[in-house]
């Protein structure tokens, strides 16, 4: 078993990984300067057309139900705020680095973003766009661990399959922490919004967060529904038990839940179309 403190230190150094595009590092540094205006950040992002296209594609897909509503980075920054765009940017570029090997995880994450937004809209509790970003990034720890420990992570996923185990239980054996903890360390280093960090950290145990209980509860429920529907692949096929508080908060009847699955099915079909279309 690896030492948790060492894993943490390595996870927190993920920003030093050479494969993270320079433009992203520049943008994240710029955003950290209090004097940087949103217009300057938009300009920096827009200086990389490929990145701009990818970010807009994901924003429109996960946030606006696949109707292309946001046409420019500037518009995204105005509508969603700099922190949310920054979180998206980081998430998109992390997944981009891994695209070939983690297509299943990307689909699972897009599914979770879509369903989290759907749940937030149903409950009207908070900004559905925030639910979407939190859903999109909830498993970022898996990406980080597989960047920093490629061999070990591959073995962990294989072991979960062979031994029919929940992946987080195997992660504990190998890394002495789960992807949820690793993802939160990572997100914290990048100073992502608190609700994103807490949703990542507590998406298996939403009762653990004090600062973002609604976000974490929503992402927890979305993650489980998406796993139940077998959307993408998140490392193991098993649906964990939904937390009591999450169940009570949404309070769906069996019939309502059936209708919810129908809505999820529609949304997932659109994700399939989206993933099959190289550029939209």
């Amino acid at each position: 078993m690896l030492d948790a403190e060492r894993v943490r230190a390595k996870v927190e150094r993920t920003n030093a990984v050479p494969t993270i595009p320079l433009v992203i590092k520049k943008i994240l540094r710029a955003v950290d300067q209090p004097a940087t205006s949103p217009a300057a950040v938009s300009k920096l992002i827009s200086s990389d057309p490929a990145l701009t296209a990818k970010v807009l594609k994901v924003i429109n897909a996960a946030m606006y139900g696949f109707v292309a509503r946001i046409a420019s980075v500037n518009q995204a920054v105005v509508l969603l705020g700099m922190n949310v765009v920054r979180a998206l940017l980081l998430g998109v570029s992390m997944f981009e680095m891994m695209e070939q090997t983690t297509m299943g995880l990307w689909k699972h994450s897009l599914g979770c973003a879509t369903v989290a937004k759907l749940l937030a809209q149903k409950k009207g509790m908070f900004d559905p766009e925030e639910a979407s970003v939190a859903g999109l990034l909830h498993d970022i720890g898996k990406v980080v661990l597989s960047i920093q420990y490629p061999k070990e992570y591959q073995m962990a996923v294989a072991a979960a399959g062979e031994r029919s185990m929940f992946l987080p239980d195997v992660e504990m054996e190998v890394f002495n922490m789960t992807h949820a903890t690793a993802g939160a360390y990572f997100a914290n280093t990048w100073r992502l919004p608190k609700f994103v960090v807490e949703s990542i950290r507590c998406h298996h145990e939403p009762s653990l967060t004090i600062t973002a209980p609604m976000h974490a509860t929503t992402v927890h429920m979305a993650d489980i529904l998406v796993k139940a529907y077998n959307v993408g692949f998140s490392g193991d096929p098993f649906v964990p038990i939904v937390h009591q508080s999450s169940w009570e908060l949404f309070d769906f009847s069996e019939a309502q839940m059936k209708d919810l699955f129908a809505e999820i099915g529609d949304a997932i079909a659109q994700i399939d179309d989206f993933l099959e279309t190289p550029n939209r």
């Binding site: 109707v67 139940a228 098993f238 069996e254 059936k258």
Partner: protein, 97 residues
């Protein structure tokens, strides 16, 4: 709901989502029938794909879908909450096919 290219939409199909411009303003409402003249109008607006009301046929056979659901819930279906969720999902699968 189905996403289709404008040209392949059949006569009598109904928009499942509104057509919006870049600013998010709805130009054509959901529920409107897609007629020949509407198709021409959409083409002139540069709209190539639209959402149509209807049922999508899943791309895997029912047996395969059900088998996957069984695996997903195999560790937790004893839990009363998860039993409700599984029943709801199975009822949805029945409606899909």
């Amino acid at each position: 709901m189905l996403k289709m290219s404008v040209e392949s939409v059949w006569p009598g199909a109904v928009l499942a989502k509104p057509i919006v411009n870049d600013a998010g303003i709805s130009l054509i409402a959901a529920g409107v029938e897609v007629t020949g003249s509407l198709k021409e109008k959409l083409a002139s607006m540069g709209v190539t794909e639209i959402f149509i009301a209807g049922k999508r046929v899943p791309d895997i056979p029912k047996e395969e879908f059900l088998a996957k659901v069984d695996v997903s819930f195999s560790k937790t279906e004893e839990d009363p909450r998860m039993a409700v969720m599984k029943r709801a999902l199975l009822a949805h699968v029945e409606e899909l096919y």
